[in-house]
């Protein structure tokens, strides 16, 4: 396979940009659900980094790690959304600023 591949740095740059967009989303948005989506975006950008490095090194270990990240993300979304539903039952709101006390 003799192809002029795209340099690794370009993929890393794209992943860094996606990570930063997700980070700004978490910091700027107030809706808990949209903050959660931004976290998913950040997880995906890190996965992209893993896969890009996997090709760079010519081993599949990075892809396996990305697979495990996917599994953990799925578990995290399940529990996180259940917590958000519960919070909505308590506060009748999905706004992060309304959840500022630990006491129910």
């Amino acid at each position: 396979m003799t192809a002029m591949a795209v340099p690794l740095g370009w993929y890393l740059g794209l992943a860094a940009a996606l990570f930063v967009i997700g980070l700004v989303g978490v910091l700027v948005r107030r809706s808990l659900i949209v903050m959660f989506m931004s976290i998913e975006l950040m997880l995906n950008s890190v996965n992209l980094t893993f896969v890009a490095f996997s090709r760079f090194h010519g081993t599949l270990d990075g892809q396996v790690i990305a697979f495990f990240v996917m599994v953990v993300a799925a578990a995290e979304v399940t529990v996180g959304l259940a917590i958000i539903v519960n919070l909505f039952r308590l506060k009748a709101s999905s706004d992060a600023d309304d959840v500022d006390v630990l006491k129910a």
């Binding site: 003799t2 910091l27 107030r30 931004s38 399940t78």
Partner: protein, 246 residues
């Protein structure tokens, strides 16, 4: 700048270059609009576009198994879960941005740009240049018309799924088993968290009228009974509606 242009020229002959440019633009655009759109359902749909774009990038990076898993797990399951919760809570429209801290938006964007600068200088810059497409020693790479990128061709010789599966069930088998425990715990946790309390009206700060859909079945059935016991106001309301339409 000049080396970057040279790289661009060198890489522009390949299909991967154009796929990267187009799909990278789609990924960036969908990510930005996900953060900027006020409607949460629109944001979730933009997230689907972003996940598909990343799946295409996985495919170009010789990670076919992950590309398909990305579409099934993320676009198929996780976003559906998001949309389901959005519909369940009915909080889709017009989500505010702000925050209580003054200047939060500006600070967040500045901090994000600073982080991007650090990442670009520290992580991205060392791996720019056509010599860094793969981690192959330079002497093996100089071939007929350009650098040879073996990449995962050797590791994927028997197929990507086979390679990944072999690694998962040999080197990473312990992590894989722990993962199954984690998924079970997450499923049980979600069920426990999702279980309704005996009387949600006592648990909520808001007045009961603010959360009519969240009251338990007894209260709802009582309300229904009250409504049916007094047919006069509902009947008059219907008549009013009819008059309104006339």
């Amino acid at each position: 700048m000049t080396p970057l242009l040279a790289q661009t020229e060198a890489a522009s002959g390949s299909a991967e270059f154009w796929v990267f440019i187009v799909i990278g633009a789609v990924a960036l655009g969908s990510a930005l609009s996900m953060v900027l759109l006020r409607n949460a359902v629109h944001a979730a749909l933009m997230l689907v576009v972003n996940f598909f774009a990343i799946a295409v990038l996985y495919a170009t990076l010789d990670a076919q198994f992950l590309a398909v898993a990305q579409i099934i797990v993320y676009a198929g399951a996780i976003v559906v879960l998001f949309l389901f919760v959005l519909m369940l809570l009915g909080v889709a429209g017009d989500q505010a941005f702000t925050g209580r801290i003054p200047g939060q938006k500006t600070t967040a964007v500045l901090l994000g740009l600073a982080l991007f600068g650090v990442l670009a200088a520290g992580v991205v810059a060392p791996f720019l240049g056509e010599a860094t497409a793969c981690n192959i020693p330079m002497e093996q790479r100089v071939e007929a018309e350009g650098p040879v990128c073996e990449g995962l061709a050797v590791a994927n010789a028997e197929g990507n799924v086979r390679g990944v599966g072999f690694l998962i069930f040999t080197d990473y088998v312990w992590a894989f088993e722990v993962t199954s425990v984690l998924l079970v715990i997450a499923a049980i946790g979600a069920i426990v968290l999702g279980k309704r309390r005996e009387d949600p009206a006592e648990l909520t700060d808001a007045p009961a009228s603010a959360v009519p859909a969240l009251r338990d079945d007894d209260a709802a059935s009582e309300e229904d009974a009250a409504d049916t016991a007094e047919p006069a106001p509902t009947g008059s309301g219907a008549e009013d509606d009819e008059e309104g339409t006339r």
